[in-house]
């Protein structure tokens, strides 16, 4: 079933829509949440919370232009980070340390990924060109290390760092323009 049909079912409050969404996207959401949380039980809770979220807020998603997959990935990612934050900072895993750092109160620049409106973020990412778009997604959605991103994209780590710096600045400007964050 395509996304448009699923969104329409969800808008009609048909539970078949939720079932079809779970069947289609459970895999990718589990993968994203698992990278952040690492615990199967937490992952399942988080993924089901994301589907509850889409059920509750389906009216904000346009069946013609909205990306259900993107919406769900952003939702599960934000929920996983919040769940990670609730756990505290006792992470032995360096990746989890980085995630906790991203969600910290002091790091305003990174806060945008946690609290900014998912649709706005999606819109800005869509307008970015390659490889900036992919760097942002790999860094903040898949939580890949700079070296991992560089290897995947065939770039040097320094190039990735520089592009990331520029892209983050552009993203911040776009969010300020849209009134999501204050300058």
């Amino acid at each position: 079933m395509d996304d448009k049909a699923i969104i329409l079912l969800l808008k009609r409050r048909a539970d078949k829509g939720i079932y079809e969404a779970i069947r289609k996207y459970e895999g990718v959401l589990t993968a994203v949440a698992y990278r952040i949380l690492g615990d199967p039980q937490d992952v399942e809770e988080c993924v089901s919370d994301a589907f509850v979220g889409v059920w509750k807020h389906i009216d904000t998603l346009d069946a013609e232009t909205g990306s259900l997959k993107g919406y769900l990935i952003c939702t599960v990612r934000n929920m996983a980070i919040n769940r990670c934050k609730q756990r505290g900072r006792n992470h032995a895993d360096p990746l989890q340390e980085e995630i906790a750092e991203l969600a910290s109160e002091e790091d305003m620049e990174n806060q945008i990924f946690v609290y900014a409106d998912t649709q706005v973020i999606l819109g800005i990412i869509q307008q970015m060109g390659k490889p900036d778009r992919e760097i942002i997604l790999r860094k903040y959605f898949l939580f890949q290390q700079i070296k991992e991103i560089a290897d995947n994209l065939g770039l040097k780590p320094n190039q990735v760092k520089y592009k990331l710096q520029c892209t983050r600045a552009r993203l911040k400007d776009a969010l300020i323009q849209k009134g999501v964050i204050l300058s």
């Binding site: 996304d3 779970i22 994203v32 399942e44 059920w55 990935i73 997604l137």
Partner: protein, 123 residues
């Protein structure tokens, strides 16, 4: 519908193999429905509903087969001249009737019995 190619890269990440995808889908669906306070109606949807229908059909066929078998056994006893034992048939246990069922070589009618056994095992 607009293509969202930027999310294609998510397809390259693999799902950890801590449980089978179908089990995860069922579990997450049940959890989601519980959180939304909706009945998990699809839990018994699809293949499970078919399985239940198959069990019911097999039950009916088995009942029909059971009576056919007892008739076959009666006929067999009559042929063998053991007419006196026919009267005692009604008081026999179901197991004896099933043995007679096999004995009368009514193999086709055993299918529903096997269907029930397999369905019960799967449930």
């Amino acid at each position: 519908m607009k293509q969202h190619s930027e999310f294609k890269l998510f397809e390259e990440i693999t799902v950890p193999e801590y449980s089978s995808p179908s089990k995860r889908v069922e579990k997450i669906y049940a959890m989601t429905m519980k959180k939304m306070q909706l009945p998990s109606s699809r839990r018994f949807g699809g293949s499970k509903l078919l399985l239940i229908a198959a069990i019911a059909a097999a039950g009916l066929l088995a009942a029909a087969g059971y009576f056919t078998a007892s008739d076959a056994f009666r006929s067999y006893l009559k042929e063998k001249g053991a007419a006196g034992e026919t009267a005692a048939l009604s008081s026999m246990s179901p197991n004896i009737i099933i043995i007679a069922y096999f004995y009368s070589a009514n193999i086709v009618n055993i299918i529903p019995v096997l269907a029930i056994a397999i369905a019960s095992f799967r449930i």
